[in-house]
Amino acid sequence: MSFELKPEIEELLNGYIDGELAAEEQNKVRRLIEADESIARRLAELDRCRLLVSSLPPAQPPAEVISGIKQVIKSRSAHVAGQARQQGARHLFARHAIAAAVMIGLLGLFAAVVYKIAGPQKEAPQMFAAQPVPEPKTQPQPPLMAQPVGDVTPDVADVGFYSLRLATGDFVGVDAFINKMLDESPWLEYDAAKDRPGQSVYRIICTRAGLDELVNDLAGVWSKFDSATLVVHGDDVGDYVAVVAVRPEQITDIANEQTHNDRVRLAKDFAVLNDAEQLMPAKKILAYLETDYTELINIPRPALTSAEQRVPPLDSSDKICVDLTIEVKGHK
């Protein structure tokens, strides 16, 4: 006889016979069975139904099914093996290619090492060759076209190009002094240009010793100059250092530096010092001068920053030539 239970109870009963209930649910089912005989009867029917189905004898697959499956496995294995062989061949080829590349690289490295050891040497190693750096040969064109000639022209190895610009209120007297000085100096060559009134330009070629003599003579009339500016020309056109308020000893100091770079560096130092001196209050300077404290205001000679020792002025055998242009201007 069939009767209906609530779906929840049916599920509980099925879970009970299948062993899928928790302990609490199992207790609940047991209480339901004890309380309701119909539920107990339904549980028995469900269990019989389950047993009937599970009692069906298992069926064995036909032999052709098993053989067919084995055939599928064999064909698949052959396919996989073929793929593996192809992959293996590619892998082997790649390994051979890499090995060949490595061998070629090693052979090249070995050949380079052998050539380095046994090959011809092109030149001596430069590691310890302390060659002197040559002085720059390019020099600016002189402002005048006078060319040094005669015996006074030394065997020139270096030329120092200078311009000395002098301004004076006694142009006539100063110009006459310079003319006479140059005429009485056989150790130098000069050329004079007096194209403009109140202005003379002298182009002088001499040695550094000759320059010392020339500057010493000029020092006698230095007080007549309202301004004196020495321009030390650099290597390139437009490259120069102007030393304003230059003093005679500064000119000789600059010219007597051994190298072009030293001359330029010293000119810069003098330019800075002279500028600073110009900025000092004039009364203070005069006060110092009047009280004979001249040592206090004497600007010390700049010290060379390099380790080189100062070189004394060279004689006529000096290989360094001086190209000095003196411009004298008179005030109007």
Binding site: S2, P7, E10, E11, L13, N14, G15, D18, E20, A44, E45, L46, D47, R48, C49, R50, L51, L52, V53, S54, S55, L56, P57, P58, A59, Q60, P61, P62, E64, V65, I66, G68, I69, K70, V72, I73, K74, R76, S77, V80, A81, A84
Partner: protein
Amino acid sequence: MAQHHINAEDAILLEKWRTGDDAAIERLVAKYQGRIYNVILKICANPDDAAELTQDTFVKIIEHIDTFESRSRFYTWAFRIAVNLTLNYCKRKATVGFSSMDAAADDQGTQTMAALLTDEKSPDPAQVAQNRELCSLIQLAVSRLDEDYRTVIVLRDIEGMDYAQIADVIGVELGTVKSRLSRARAALRQILEAL
């Protein structure tokens, strides 16, 4: 514990097969071919079709073994393939009747079935298995269930899966398995009473 052992053994066999050991897959086939064939046969109710579907199932397993994720269970994965193939087959052959099985439902079988259902004693499985007519009736009753009911009945009462495994194989929630199995047994009991 036994289930874990089975899973561990399956995983080892799969790993061996992936490394080229053909004997491993043959062991897996030998282990599951009978159970898969039995489930398929109980669902589709045709020995020839069951044989073909069993072979198709293993072909599919072999072809898609690379997509199998080890975190799943090979056991439920293999049965999922088998059940899906079988249910798809059943849908294609929906018009196919069970005349051969209906013929087995004679009066004697009906009387036996009614007696079994009303008998207060539990049926003896050995006696049931030896009674071919009774087996045919039970198989007939199962085959008359809807496909969804038939599937859960077969997976639970024939294959012996627990509810969680059934849910995994047919791809439904655990609660759905409980309710579906409850309704399937109620329907089966009605069919058996009617035979």
